[in-house]
Symmetry: C2
């Protein structure tokens, strides 16, 4: 006879993980138009945090749209569900002690606030990559704006679907003007000011 | 004018994470009937791996059913989608350098094999918690079998829904007979034999 069901391992909780990692876990949620530099900034921050010894991951369209959310399209309903699942995945990573850098257009305020509401207070920070549509469109790194203008892509944010700017974002990145290095420096300064990461490089 | 879109951070890849963590990342997928001791074993292994300094997380019904898969029920279709999403979440964790201990009834072979197929070869190990239905039912830690027998729960694995045993599992745990300590020792010995974790405690 086994004692399996009466046996309890002391669970490894988030605090134990954070203590060992020597840093807090939290979500930086990068929102903004396609081409506003969200992923670029997120990967630059990931690299710097990793070099500091942090556990960190980027969630973005590249690793989510073909996997966790591969069954979803870009209708309003599917976008809501897309954001919900990403928020829940981010929550699991935060519980595992990992800093999450989530880079998604995430055009609806309600979706972003729902993700915030699913995390403990102080774990979610909205970073608005603020870049004018005309500049994003002139960059058009993936040729998506051109295709959207031709009508080849439905529900394209900024062209045929709305983008709801954050009302009170935790950080604003003037990504039409700043260099990536300036952006990274600003984010790191803010994270230190908020006590989310330790002082130092 | 910004150089955002021309600037590329060197991405932090899985190999860099594994090297820093000093261990590989992979998935142990615990499958078996409700009450077969999957979660108990997974949490015991998590605890021991954490004490060894590993990055490790348990995914189970408790942290998935109320979050990532909160919109899903227990119909066959929903069970497939449940497994698919958990597999994709596990994949993200493996990419982040984390050992994933996934503890789910996961009654369908096809679903388990689909998760395996979504991960690189050698990253997925099926652990069959092999315990007779009668014993699982006599344990009934959550009272679910009693409710299923009364017809209060539809599609309950082993009672009103099938469980498809693994044909060639990577590990078999005789969880009706072994103590949790014996089970943990067996899993650790196997992980060392496979070169998935380093020798030592």
């Amino acid at each position: 006879m086994t004692n399996n069901v009466f046996w309890h391992a002391s669970q490894v909780d988030r605090q134990m993980r954070q203590t060992r990692n020597n840093h807090k876990s939290f979500v930086l949620w990068f929102t903004g138009l396609s081409g506003s530099g969200k992923s670029t900034l997120a990967y630059a921050i990931e690299h710097k945090l990793f070099e500091r010894g942090s556990n960190v991951i980027v969630l973005d369209g590249d690793n989510v749209r073909h996997g966790l959310c591969s069954d979803l399209g870009f209708s309003e309903q599917d976008r809501h569900e897309n954001m919900r699942r990403i928020g829940e995945a981010a929550k699991l990573f935060v519980e595992s002690g990992t800093i999450v850098l989530a880079a998604f257009v995430s055009p609806y305020r309600e979706d972003r606030e729902r993700v915030r509401s699913r995390l403990p207070h102080g774990d979610f920070y909205e970073v608005f990559c603020d870049c004018e549509l005309s500049l994003c469109e002139s960059r058009d790194p993936k040729g998506l704006y051109a295709r959207a203008r031709k009508g080849e892509i439905d529900n394209f944010t900024g062209i045929s679907a709305p983008y709801e700017e954050p009302i009170k974002p935790d950080m604003v990145i003037d990504s039409g003007v700043m260099s990536v290095k300036e952006e990274v420096d600003l984010v790191f300064t803010t994270l230190k000011d908020k006590g989310l990461i330790a002082p130092g490089n």
